[in-house]
Structures are given as structure tokens and as C-alpha cells.
């Protein structure tokens, strides 16, 4: 506990250091080195604390009659591991990557501040400290989003972001207000001791869903996320997507499963419905993008959906008293939390490397990067495969566990759940398959094929710090996929602390299998699959090279006899997504294409125009914008009245109050 406090203080010390040494040559190594070191310590300390009994600490800060309560229980410890792993990785990456930063003075002070806030949110044990850290986290990341402030787009992203972040903070504040009651018992311990009545609990849950969900990127409150995440410097994008959204998940778990006690089944239906919708819509949005970082940001939305499906399942099972099933579902969700934080960070690292190498995030101007940036390409490929839930990598394990939870008890007594759970299964599968499609696109268009711009052709490999961070995270992807049992066992105390039940211990099983319930029911062995794959691949290569031909001849591409030297004839990101856009987009995005052909004899080029609408923005955000603009415009008349009219307002107020008083008496 005190170690974590030290970590936070170290990170905070990085803030003035970053501000003061921003332009000095030692500023970057100083700040990022400090951050990486602090996060490494914090991560190890948290890892050690997962199995330990909860530790608490109370500081005389914040609201004095309550003080700042800190608590490190297994759940918090697990999320701290995620936070600090991401933080250490991002800092390591930034050691090299930030060399290209044009505005270090706007990044260096806020990076450690952001990390400190992330850490603080997780260990906060009273509403004030929690929200304090929560908003600080938003503020620090906002500063990072608008670091490159000259681009109007970033400013808009920052604007939407901070507004939505404040909405989330305010809504959580309402939730805590309800939990604390009129007496203002803001300490979580007090809330836990007196869980609210059912009706109030429902309201709190909905508020928590809005508050934490909007920060996590739950549809339809996700709109800020694809704007803000790509706008920040890449290592910050990685932190925001990989870590900050997880902290939001933590907030939701803390409120819904810890502070509220047993949830009601309808709230589980709500969470499941939102989770399913988020997963599918997130990936569909992603498919429509050709900005690499924005595509990744939309995938964060998708993965948050998957995590919330797991949480929804856990809530449903818990509401119906199936503790073991709930433990399985929650383990799946937490597993995915870990996974996503790793591979999404890795993907953003890769995207950052691409961005610095080519100067663009637009996939239509990339291509063939695998030649210039083989290592980045390889680690990016690993991450793509992991996020597409392909075995033997980690993404598959958590989605597999989620499926197992769905399959374990799809038939709960309530009809809402009975229909919702299998539907979520189908949605999850759809999301996974679409994600694979999307990452074929992301990797295929950016790294494969021929360069679509000069910059892409001249791209060179990134620096060694970045490569180290990327390689480390890629190794983690494989490791967690091959030895999932170990991670499940590490997660068990956190699950136990929330649900009072846990998955059976995995590490003692033969061949290090993963068996959620019983071997006869289902099992998965990542290690064996990996070994089999490795053996099969190397065997076939060896056999063929030994007994058959090794001869290779390089030749121009065949392409059905029409080799074309121009890279422009390749498939683009847009054309790659066209079939899916046609299948799903027509319904959801009102996608259509218009073709304008010049009349015969005219040599003007033909034009194909793509039209896409954003249904959620149009239905939810645009009306708000319109209403506020209308109200502001209408009220603005009041700025330009004559003095007489202002006096009339006072006069009317007086007469009205007197009348009211007369009537009341």
C-alpha cells in the first residue's frame, strides 16, 4: 500500500520535472524513465497484493471529516497490475517514440499526471477521492489530447471528450450521492455496510452504467472515444484505450458488484443488451474507418462491449444464485480486460510507429510497410491476431471463456435473460468474426501490398525502445494465450472478493489445461495447440524442403495475366470493407454509393461517392447540439434588451413573488 503511494508520489514528481525540463535533452528520458520505473514498481507491488488480504490507508486529505481513504483489495490490485503494466509499457515506448514529439512541453508534464490519476482511481476507497482522481484522469488526458493544439480536429476531439468525461463524472457523482445518502457517508466501507433498497439500487446501477459506461465507451455514449483516442500522442492513445477504459470498467464493477451487493436480473439484461450492441456496433464502425488510429479506437468500443457482456453474464448468474457460473463469467471479463489492455496498447504502439515513419494515419496512403518495418509489422500482426480472437493467442482465451459462460447456463428462469444470453452469444461471435475481418483490412492495407504513397515506401523501422515495448507486449499476448491457467489463477482472488466464488484452480491440471467446469464439458489447452501448431508447421516446412523442391523464382505478379505497375489499382481500405458495408451498413449506417458517369465522349473521370451516416450521432448528439444552440440563441435576446425591459423583469419578479405570497397566505 505504502509502496503504491510512493509510486503515485513519484509520478506526481514527474509533473514539475516534465514542465521544467520539457525542452532540455534530458527531459524525455527523465520523465519517461521515471514513469516506467514507477509503474514497474507499482505493477509488481500490485501483483504481490492480489492474493493478500485488503490493505487500507487513510490520509487527512480531501474532505477532512472523511479523509482520503485508500484500499488495496484483490480487485483493485488486479486493475493496478493492468494500469501499471500499460503505464510501464507506454513509458518505455515513449522513451524512444517521443523523440519525434514536436510539443514536448505539452506532453511531458501530463503523462505522469495521467498515470498517477489512473493509479489513484483504482485505490480510492471513498467517493470523493474516487471522483477526484477520476476527473483528474480526464483532465490530464484531455490536456494530452489537445497537445497538438493547432489542429482544429484535435481541439474538437478534446472538447467532446472533456464534455463527455464531465458528464460521466457528474453522473457517477449522482450515483455516489444516492449511495451515500443525505448524511453524506462517502466512504465506500460505509456504503458497503448499508446497501440501498432495490429501487434505489436500480437507479444507482443505471447511473453507474451511464457514468462508467460513457468513460469506457459503451454505445451510445462512445462518441467521444474515436475522436479523442487518436488525437493524443500514440503512447497516450495506448494508455487511453488500453488502460483508461479499463479503469472505467473497474468503476462499474466496483459499484455494481461491490457497493450494490446482489444485482437484479433486469439490470443484467440491460448490461447484456448494451454490451452486445456495443460489441457489434463498435466493430462495424471500425470497419468503416480508414484512419488507422480511429479504427483502433472503435475496436476499443467493441472490446468494451465484450467485457460488458462478461460482466452482464456475471450479474445475471449472480442474481439467480449461480455463483460458479458467475465466477466463470467474471473471470472471462477480467481476462479480457487484461488482454485488451495488452494488445490494444501494442496496436497503438504500432500505429504510432507507422505514424512517425510515414507521417500519416490514413491507411489509403500506406501499404507495404512490412518491408521497411519488419519488426513493427510482426508485432502488429501478433496483436491483430490476438484481438481477432485467434488461437493460440490471448484474445481467444477470454472470448472462449465468455462463450463457456454463455453455454454454461443459457437457460436462466427469466425470459429476458433466456433470450438475451444466447443472442449475446451470436453477437459476440459476429463481433469476433467482424473483428477478424477488420484486422485483415488494417494489417493488409497498411503493412501488406504495395506502398500507396512515397512516404509509405520510404518508411524505416522504429527505434529500439519502441521495439522493446512492442516485443514485450507481443510476448505477453502469446504467453497469456499459451498459459491461460496461470492468469485465471491470478485472477481468482479478485473474482472471489467480488462474488464469493471463484473458478477452480487451473495450474495443477495435467498439461496445463484450462478447464472452466469439468473436462467432459469443455476444456482448452493453449500450450498444446501452440506446440502442435509449431510442430506441424516446422514438420511440414522441413519435410517439404528436404524431400521436395526448395527452388524459388521471383517474377512479376500474375494477377490473372494483368500485372499492373501502379499501386493505385490495389484494393483500398474502403473497397475492402465494401462487401461488409453493403451487408450491414445499408441497415445501420444508411450506407449507399452514388456513381456519376460522364456522358459518352466526355473524358472527365467517373466518380464513385460513398455516403455514410452515423445513426447514433444523428439520433442522440445532434439533437442535443441543436436544442442547446436553439436555447442559447433564443435566450441571447436577453442580452440586448433595454434597461426598461430589464427593470420590467425585476418588477415582474417582485409582483409574482408578492402574488405568490398573498395566495400562499
Amino acid at each position: 500500500m505504502s509502496l503504491l503511494l510512493l509510486v503515485i508520489l513519484l509520478l506526481l514528481a514527474g509533473v514539475p520535472a516534465g514542465a521544467a525540463r520539457a525542452h532540455a535533452p534530458d527531459g524525455r528520458p527523465l520523465v519517461y524513465g521515471l514513469s516506467a520505473g514507477a509503474c514497474a514498481i507499482g505493477g509488481l507491488a500490485a501483483l504481490a497484493a492480489i492474493g493478500a488480504p485488503p490493505a487500507t490507508l487513510s490520509l487527512p486529505l480531501g474532505l477532512p471529516w472523511i479523509g482520503a481513504h485508500l484500499r488495496l483489495d484483490p480487485l483493485a490490485a488486479f486493475f493496478l497490475v493492468v494500469v501499471n503494466l500499460g503505464g510501464a509499457g507506454a513509458s518505455l515506448y515513449a522513451l524512444g517514440h517521443a523523440r519525434h514529439e514536436t510539443m514536448p512541453q505539452r506532453v511531458l508534464p501530463f503523462h505522469p499526471l495521467f498515470l498517477a490519476a489512473l493509479n489513484l482511481v483504482v485505490i480510492a476507497d471513498d467517493a470523493f477521492t474516487f471522483l477526484f482522481a477520476w476527473e483528474l484522469m480526464s483532465l490530464a488526458s484531455w490536456a494530452l489530447v489537445v497537445a497538438h493544439h493547432r489542429e482544429q480536429e484535435n481541439l474538437r476531439a478534446g472538447y467532446v471528450y472533456l464534455l463527455m468525461a464531465s458528464l460521466s463524472g457528474m453522473v457517477l457523482l449522482l450515483a455516489f450521492g444516492l449511495l451515500a445518502g443525505p448524511a453524506g457517508s462517502y466512504a465506500f466501507a460505509a456504503m458497503r455496510a448499508a446497501p440501498p433498497a432495490a429501487g434505489v439500487a436500480g437507479t444507482v446501477l443505471v447511473l453507474a452504467l451511464i457514468g462508467a459506461g460513457s468513460k469506457a465507451g459503451l454505445v451510445p455514449l462512445h462518441a467521444w472515444l474515436p475522436l479523442a483516442h487518436p488525437a493524443a500522442p500514440s503512447h497516450v492513445s495506448a494508455l487511453m484505450s488500453g488502460v483508461m477504459t479499463k479503469v472505467a470498467v473497474y468503476a462499474f464493477l466496483r459499484i455494481s458488484l461491490d457497493l450494490l451487493g446482489t444485482p437484479s436480473w433486469w439490470s443484467a439484461v440491460l448490461v447484456l443488451a448494451l454490451g452486445g450492441a456495443t460489441a457489434v456496433l463498435g466493430v462495424l464502425y471500425a470497419l468503416m474507418q480508414h484512419d488507422l488510429k480511429r479504427l483502433l479506437a472503435y475496436h476499443t468500443v467493441e472490446n468494451i462491449g465484450i467485457i460488458f457482456i462478461g460482466i452482464g453474464l456475471a450479474m445475471a448468474f449472480r442474481a439467480d444464485g449461480f455463483a460458479a457460473a458467475a465466477a466463470l463469467a467474471l473471470t472471462a471479463a477480467l481476462f479480457h480486460v487484461f488482454n485488451h489492455s495488452v494488445f490494444k496498447a501494442l496496436l497503438f504502439f504500432g500505429a504510432g510507429a507507422v505514424l512517425t515513419a510515414t507521417g500519416t494515419r490514413d491507411m489509403e496512403r500506406l501499404g507495404g510497410l512490412i518491408h521497411g518495418m519488419p519488426r513493427t509489422g510482426f508485432t502488429f500482426l501478433i496483436a491483430c491476431a490476438a484481438i481477432s480472437a485467434l488461437p493460440p493467442l490471448n484474445g481467444f482465451v477470454s472470448e472462449w471463456l465468455t462463450f463457456q459462460a454463455i453455454l454454461l447456463r443459457p437457460d436462466l428462469p427469466q425470459w429476458g435473460l433466456k433470450v438475451m444470453i444466447p443472442t449475446d452469444g451470436a453477437l459476440l461471435a459476429l463481433a469476433a468474426a467482424l473483428a477478424a475481418a477488420c484486422f485483415v483490412k488494417a494489417f493488409g492495407i497498411s503493412f501488406l501490398g504495395r506502398p500507396r504513397s512515397e512516404a509509405a515506401g520510404a518508411a524505416a523501422e522504429t527505434d529500439r525502445f519502441s521495439r522493446a515495448a512492442m516485443s514485450g507486449f507481443a510476448a505477453l499476448c502469446l504467453l497469456a494465450g499459451v498459459l491461460p491457467g496461470a492468469l485465471v489463477d491470478v485472477l481468482a482472488p479478485a473474482v472471489q472478493s467480488l462474488l464469493g466464488a471463484r473458478m477452480p484452480a487451473q495450474l495443477g491440471l495435467p498439461w496445463l489445461s484450462l478447464v472452466p467446469v469439468a473436462a467432459a464439458r469443455s476444456s482448452y489447452n493453449g500450450l498444446l495447440i501452440f506446440l502442435f501448431l509449431a510442430a506441424a508447421t516446422s514438420l511440414s516446412i522441413l519435410a517439404i524442403h528436404r524431400f521436395a523442391s526448395r527452388a524459388v523464382r521471383r517474377a512479376p505478379a500474375w494477377d490473372c495475366g494483368f500485372p499492373d505497375a501502379r499501386p493505385a489499382t490495389q484494393y483500398t481500405a474502403d473497397s475492402f470493407a465494401q462487401p461488409i458495408r453493403r451487408v450491414f451498413g445499408a441497415l445501420i449506417f444508411n450506407a449507399h454509393e452514388t456513381l456519376s458517369l460522364p456522358p459518352p465522349g466526355d473524358t472527365a473521370p467517373a466518380r464513385l461517392t460513398k455516403h455514410l451516416a452515423d445513426p447514433i450521432w444523428d439520433a442522440l448528439y445532434a439533437p442535443v447540439q441543436t436544442v442547446v444552440a436553439w436555447a442559447a440563441e433564443t435566450l441571447n435576446v436577453l442580452q440586448f434588451l433595454t434597461i426598461r425591459r430589464y427593470l420590467a423583469a425585476v418588477f415582474i419578479a417582485l409582483v409574482a413573488l408578492l402574488l405568490a405570497l398573498a395566495l400562499w397566505q
Binding site: P60, L61, G62, L63, P64, W65, Q105, R106, A127, F128, L131, F132, A133, E135, L136, S138, L139, V146, H149, R150, Q152, L155, G158, Y159, L162, L163, S166, L167, M170, V171, L173, L174, F176, G177, L178, A180, P182, G184, Y186, V628, A629, A631, A632, L635, N636, L638, Q639, L641, I643, Y646, L647, A649, V650, A653, L654, L657, L658, L661, W664, Q665
Partner: protein
């Protein structure tokens, strides 16, 4: 007694002297010195309080206001020194007006301090009137069309408000007379409060309506707010800072005193709902008005209306948490808003305009000024680690448990305000550099001192301070 003499005497003597001193450097120093003496005297009050007399009263409640008032008065005088120097250099002010300005500044401080320490509702009324008149003078000091119009508007609306407040004061006296008897006792706070339980509640109700509207005009509550944005925008910026930071508080203080009276009188209407309604109306109205603002000082003036709305709302919700939050919010708002005006004043000077559209990229052209403004806006928008967050946290969370709908409206207003402020901040502080890029010649000490205080308050509130505020909150009922 020395302390009281310092608080009241320093500004009064200062005013007399400054009316006579011609030189800029000397008068600016004298101004700072007089403000410092008043502040030091106010600090003395913390240590030792004089007995309440028939005219003077120093108790837990007004000490907060006095110390805050003299402190902001002091820092503003520092800011004013560097600000006015620039105004003289650019010939916007002539030396004759400078003397007038400094004298009026001290006169206003005197008025406000007198209002705060007076134990007599009549004397307090006179003092508020005095402070108003002196600020009217200063608002019109630039003699431009806009400034004159702003001053005229301020004057007319202020006079009507003050007239209503006087009528309310007379009614309070009438209510007190049968119980307390006539004479000075009938107007002394201490006596009134002691016997409030025996007053005629119905008469007190009517009185409160007049007082609420009357002093509410000074507080800047909608729909009596109209003078406020223009007065802030057109006067010299130090005056905007003290208007927002102090004068509104003084009027609020008066309102609170009367509210206590009403609360102590069983059978009367609860003042809460009225204050809540006016507070919410001000908050929502002001936050929507923020969107179409083109003048940066007017923008922050509307933000003051918004915050006064929150504060009045919090005091209306009452309860130990509500009152505590209101008090804290008031202190934080004074410090933050004056810091913002310090920044804005220099910004307007270096950019040569107050039009938001003509300034941009401030964090790049003037990093200290720009980041100070960013921090100030973040603070005023209720972001941690600044103190406003603490008070807004308390207001919202304590309200929601008792009246969910009100809390939702409150949140709505806060978000609307945040949206507008952020929008303007983005274009002023970030983006491509627009407007002048010359050196500032600014003194950053006052601005960063305020921000530092707000920052510390957001993280750590000393236990004695909290105990004291809690005590006041309990007093307020």
C-alpha cells in the same frame, strides 16, 4: 478594536490620500499598502475578536467574508498596479482619472468592509449602497459609449435593487419592533437573531421577498442580473475582479444574515425554495447565455452569475452539507474568478481586444498567461485538483439524495456551462495564434497565488478551517 480600525480606517484614509496623490507609481504603492494594512488587520481578527457592539459585529460568519474580502482586495491592488500602468501607457486613462480611480477603489473597499462588520441592518444597507456607488463610478471610468451605458444600467438597476432592500429592511424592523422595542436594538443583528423566534412570521416573509430581490440584484441572480455582465465587461479589469470576487459576496452575506433570521423564526416560509428556484434559474440561464458570448470579460461575468446561482442554490438546500458547500464554493469562486480576471485583463491588454474571436493560441504566444487561464477555467468549471470541485461535489451529492430532480437540473446547468466555457477556452488558449504577441509586463503573482490557494484547497483543507466552516454551516441552519 485596532483590527476593526485597521479594516475600516485604512481604506478610508487611503481613499482620502489617494484622491490627492498625483503620481502613478506612488499612488499604486499607496493603494497596495492600504489594502495590505486592511488585510493584516483582518488577519488580526482571526486572532482576537472585539466584543460585538451596537454598530460593529465580528463573529464566525463574517470573519470569513472579511478575510476573503481584504485578501482579494489586496491581491487585486497588486494586479491593478501592473494593469493600470499599462492603461496609462496606452492613454486609456488620464492621471486625473487615475486619482479618482484609486480613491474610489479604497472607498469601495471601505464600503464593503463596513457592510461586513456592521451589526446594524441599516448601516449595512448604507455601506452596500456606498460600495455600489463607488463601483458605478469606476465602471464608467473609460467614458466610452459602452462604459457609460454599462454604468448607467448598473446604476439604475442597482438603485432599484437597493431601494427594494431598504424597504425589506424597514419591514424587518417593523417585525422586530413589537418584540425588541424600538431604537437601535431593533436593528442590531445580535439582538434580532436572539429574538427572532418571537417575530411575526408573515411580516418577515414579505420582508424576505424584498430583501431577496433587492440584495439578489447585487448578487446577480437572474432575472435581476442584467447590470452584471456589462459592468464587468466595460469597466477596468481590476474592478471586474473585485465585483465578481467581493461585491457579489457582500450582497450574498446580507442575504444570508436575513436568511438566518427567517430560519430562526418558526412559522415563516422556508427561504430555501425561493433561493433554490432563483439559484437554479440563474445557473441554467447563465450557462445557456455563455454560448453566444463574444467578449471574454462578459463571458466570465456570466460565469459569475452561474456560480452565484450555485452558491445560492446550495444555501437554499441548507443542511450542514449544503451550507458548508455553499460557503466553500463562495470562497473558491472569489479566488478563482478574480484569478481569471487577472489573467483576462492582461490577455485583453496584450491582444489589444476583448473579442474572443480575435484572440487565439494563448498558451503558445504567452505560456504563463495562457496556462494560468486554462487552470483558472478548469478550476471554475469544477475540475479537480481545484477547490471548486470539492464544493460542487458536496452540493450535487447532498442534493441528489434529497431532491433528485433538482440535482439533475443542477448537473445539467453545470454541464452546459462547462460546454460553453470549454468551447471558448479552446479557441482562446489553443489553436493558431491570433492577436498581439507582445510582451505582457504582467505581474503573475496575484493570479498564481490565487490559483495555488484554490489548488491547495482542492487537495487539503486544514481541519480547523473545516471545523470553523462546519460551525458556520450549523449556524446557518
Amino acid at each position: 478594536m485596532i483590527a476593526l480600525a485597521g479594516i475600516l480606517g485604512a481604506p478610508l484614509i487611503g481613499a482620502a490620500l489617494l484622491a490627492a496623490i498625483p503620481g502613478y507609481r506612488l499612488s499604486a504603492r499607496c493603494n497596495v499598502l492600504a489594502s495590505l494594512v486592511a488585510f493584516a488587520a483582518a488577519l488580526l481578527l482571526l486572532h482576537h475578536r472585539p466584543q460585538a457592539g451596537r454598530f460593529m459585529l465580528v463573529d464566525d460568519l463574517n470573519v470569513v467574508f472579511i478575510v476573503l474580502s481584504t485578501f482579494v482586495g489586496f491581491t487585486t491592488s497588486l494586479f491593478s498596479a501592473s494593469y493600470i500602468g499599462h492603461e496609462l501607457a496606452t492613454l486609456r486613462l488620464t492621471p486625473a482619472y487615475l486619482r479618482f480611480y484609486h480613491a474610489m477603489y479604497q472607498l469601495m473597499m471601505f464600503g464593503m468592509n463596513l457592510a461586513l462588520v456592521s451589526n446594524n441592518i441599516g448601516l449595512m444597507w448604507v455601506a452596500v449602497e456606498l460600495a455600489t456607488l463607488s463601483t458605478v463610478m469606476m465602471v464608467g471610468i473609460y467614458r466610452t459609449h459602452e462604459a457609460l451605458e454599462a454604468a448607467w444600467k448598473y446604476f439604475i438597476l442597482g438603485s432599484v435593487g437597493i431601494a427594494l432592500a431598504l424597504f425589506g429592511t424597514i419591514l424587518v424592523y417593523l417585525a422586530a419592533r413589537p418584540v425588541v422595542g424600538g431604537g437601535l436594538d431593533g436593528m442590531a443583528w445580535t439582538v434580532l437573531l436572539m429574538h427572532a423566534a418571537g417575530f411575526d412570521p408573515a411580516l418577515l416573509d414579505v420582508a424576505f421577498v424584498f430583501l431577496l430581490l433587492g440584495y439578489g440584484t447585487k448578487v446577480g441572480l437572474a432575472p435581476m442580473h442584467a447590470w452584471l455582465p456589462d459592468a464587468h465587461a466595460e469597466g477596468p479589469t481590476p474592478i471586474s475582479a473585485v465585483l465578481s470576487g467581493l461585491l457579489l459576496n457582500v450582497a450574498l452575506y446580507a442575504l444570508l444574515r436575513f436568511k438566518m433570521l427567517l430560519a430562526a423564526c418558526p412559522g415563516g416560509i422556508a427561504p430555501g425554495p425561493l433561493m433554490i428556484a432563483l439559484g437554479l434559474a440563474s445557473l441554467l440561464f447563465a450557462s445557456l447565455m455563455l454560448y453566444r458570448r463574444r467578449d471574454i470579460k462578459r463571458l466570465f461575468a456570466y460565469s459569475s452569475i452561474e456560480h452565484m446561482g450555485i452558491i445560492v442554490f446550495a444555501f437554499g438546500m441548507a443542511g450542514p452539507l449544503g451550507n458548508f458547500a455553499g460557503l466553500l464554493q463562495m470562497v473558491m469562486h472569489s479566488l478563482t474568478k478574480s484569478a481569471i480576471f487577472f489573467s483576462v485583463g492582461h490577455v485583453a491588454q496584450v491582444k489589444g481586444t476583448q473579442r474572443i474571436a480575435e484572440m487565439g493560441g494563448l498558451t503558445e504566444s504567452h505560456p504563463l498567461l495562457g496556462w494560468g487561464l486554462v487552470a483558472g477555467v478548469a478550476a471554475i468549471a469544477g475540475m479537480p485538483p481545484f477547490g471548486v470541485f470539492t464544493s460542487e461535489f458536496l452540493v450535487i451529492s447532498s442534493t441528489f439524495a434529497r431532491a433528485p430532480l433538482l440535482a439533475v437540473l443542477l448537473v445539467l446547468g453545470l454541464l452546459l456551462a462547462l460546454g460553453a466555457l470549454l468551447l471558448r477556452l479552446s479557441s482562446v488558449a489553443f489553436g493558431p495564434v491570433r492577436g498581439g504577441t507582445g510582451p505582457t509586463g504582467a505581474s503573475f503573482v496575484p493570479m498564481f497565488a490565487h490559483l495555488a490557494l484554490v489548488l491547495v484547497a482542492g487537495i487539503y483543507l486544514p481541519a480547523p478551517l473545516v471545523a470553523w466552516f462546519q460551525h458556520i454551516a450549523a449556524l446557518l441552519g
